[in-house]
């Protein structure tokens, strides 16, 4: 019997039902497509995001019998597939980040107005961040960006990448250390952070 309140169901239950009713997988698509698309677009730009998000969901649909239907949330699984899909584009990502660091202009194909907003959002630290991200090894970058942009917890990252939790911690420690060092060297260090925090408090 189909539950009318489909959105209250766990992803596991929906995927389990999709074994016999493939169309049910559309519920999982509706829930998570935007997040996956956004994650890929932030890493490789909107031009590639359409294709790679499509590839991610095609693979997920084809492999849905591998998903443990006892799990409530399919996000770690989907982000894991997206990370696998993105793995073939490491060099593209690094080239774009290096170009950003060098020129201060994001080479990814963001629409003009959004690109301006993005530059304002990221502030002067953006080229420095781009350079730091480019210098990370792909495995460390995956972990860091799943945390920062995918909003996954440590345990979910471990599940997504199929690595032990300890490895997630050590990779994050290494990646965040490098990013922090780069920010500090460029004058966006802790002292600066304290001042900014103080301003926020005083204004609040």
């Amino acid at each position: 019997v189909r539950n009318d309140d489909t959105w209250a169901e766990s992803d596991g239950a929906v995927i389990g039902r999709s074994h016999t009713e493939p169309r049910e997988f559309g519920v999982v698509f509706e829930r998570h497509f935007d997040a996956i698309h956004r994650f890929i677009a932030r890493r490789l730009g909107p031009a590639l995001a359409d294709d790679l998000a499509a590839e991610t969901f095609s693979r997920a649909f084809a492999q849905r019998d591998r998903f443990d239907t006892c799990r409530c949330d399919a996000r770690p699984w989907l982000f894991g597939i997206a990370a696998n899909v993105l793995r073939g584009y490491c060099r593209t990502e690094e080239r774009a980040l290096r170009a950003y660091a060098r020129t201060g202009v994001d080479p990814l194909d963001f629409p003009e107005t959004d690109a301006v907003i993005a530059r304002v959002d990221a502030g002067a630290a953006a080229p420095c961040l781009a350079s730091a991200l480019a210098s990370l090894n792909p495995a460390d970058r995956d972990v860091l960006l799943l945390l920062a942009w995918g909003d996954l917890s440590y345990a979910e990252i471990a599940e997504a990448l199929n690595i032990p939790l300890g490895t997630v911690r050590s990779r994050l420690h290494r990646a965040r250390g490098r990013v922090s060092d780069a920010l500090r060297q460029a004058g966006f260090g802790r002292a600066d952070a304290r001042v900014l925090d103080g301003q926020e408090v005083s204004h609040g």
Binding site: S18, H19, P22, R23, F25, G26, F29, F33, D34, H37, R38, A41, R42, P46, A47, L48, A49, D50, D51, A53, A54, F57, S58, R59, F61, A62, Q63, R64, D65, G88, R91, T92, D106, P107, L108, D109, F110, P111, D114, A115, I117, A118, D121, A122, G123, A125, A126, L129, A130, L144, L145, L147, A148, W149, V179, S180, L183, A193, L196, D197
Partner: protein, 307 residues
Amino acid sequence: MDDLARLREFRRAVPPPNAAARNAVRAAMFQSRDRTRRRFHWPSVHLSAARATVLVAAVAVAFSALALNPLRGSRQSPLSPAVVLANAVQAMNRPVPSAGTARVSYMNSDAVAITLPQQKIHHLTVTSWTLRDWRHWRIHIAILAPDPVPRSQTVVANGRRAVYTDTVDGRLATYPINSPLAGAGLFGMFLGAETPEQIGTLKHMLRTLMTEHGSSHVRLVGQAQILGRRTAVVEISPFVCSPTRTAGALGTSGCTHGGIGYGRKRLWIDERTGMTLRVQGFDVPYTQPLAQHNFLYRVTKISFGSH
């Protein structure tokens, strides 16, 4: 503001997926390979020991007969043409960065002297390319024949447009690249792999294979090594169906929707990258009166990796 907060601000203003693309993805997802539904369940068969022995012996005899069959083609490919073409089309969506040189030659009937059917003009072009993705590439075209003075053209795709320049007449033209597919189309067109462009040819072949009965019109001829790379050789025949009968017609066979068939075409498709390394056309008329004969596109040098 700590490193993580700054990172969260970095590239924050990402445009959402547009509704049309989203719907297309959703529709395509259900057409993707559905392993769950095709999962094979072994039948539960209870065999007696004697029957099992007979069965094993029969299978062994069948295998040995296949293995020792002297009539079996040594170059027979284990791949299906549908898989090869689908991979090639898929690869066209995600190109492998590459650089190389290709040689394009064909014979054209002279449009001016069309009343003299024997008069043919030999065309020869050598193209060199560097490809990063469908929006970023560079092609240099050297036209060696039929012009008495060799001329060269350069096309550079810079992400948003392709800029074409001709060294002899100084002509300059720009072509917008609104999508990766548009960039792929322009790349195929300028490379000279085929007209209509390569991706169109592949899709046409795949569509033919999928919509017509069996694989009698698109077939895998075999495998071959080109520049040290293993390629699958796929042939389509007839290549086009025309409502009118002219010279060179192959007959109505293969034209399931009516018309008369013309031309054969073979493609040598790299099994790893899906790139077409060679195209050979036999009596393939595209436009009248400029009939194209014995078209040959041949990659003579290629390297993969970022450039």
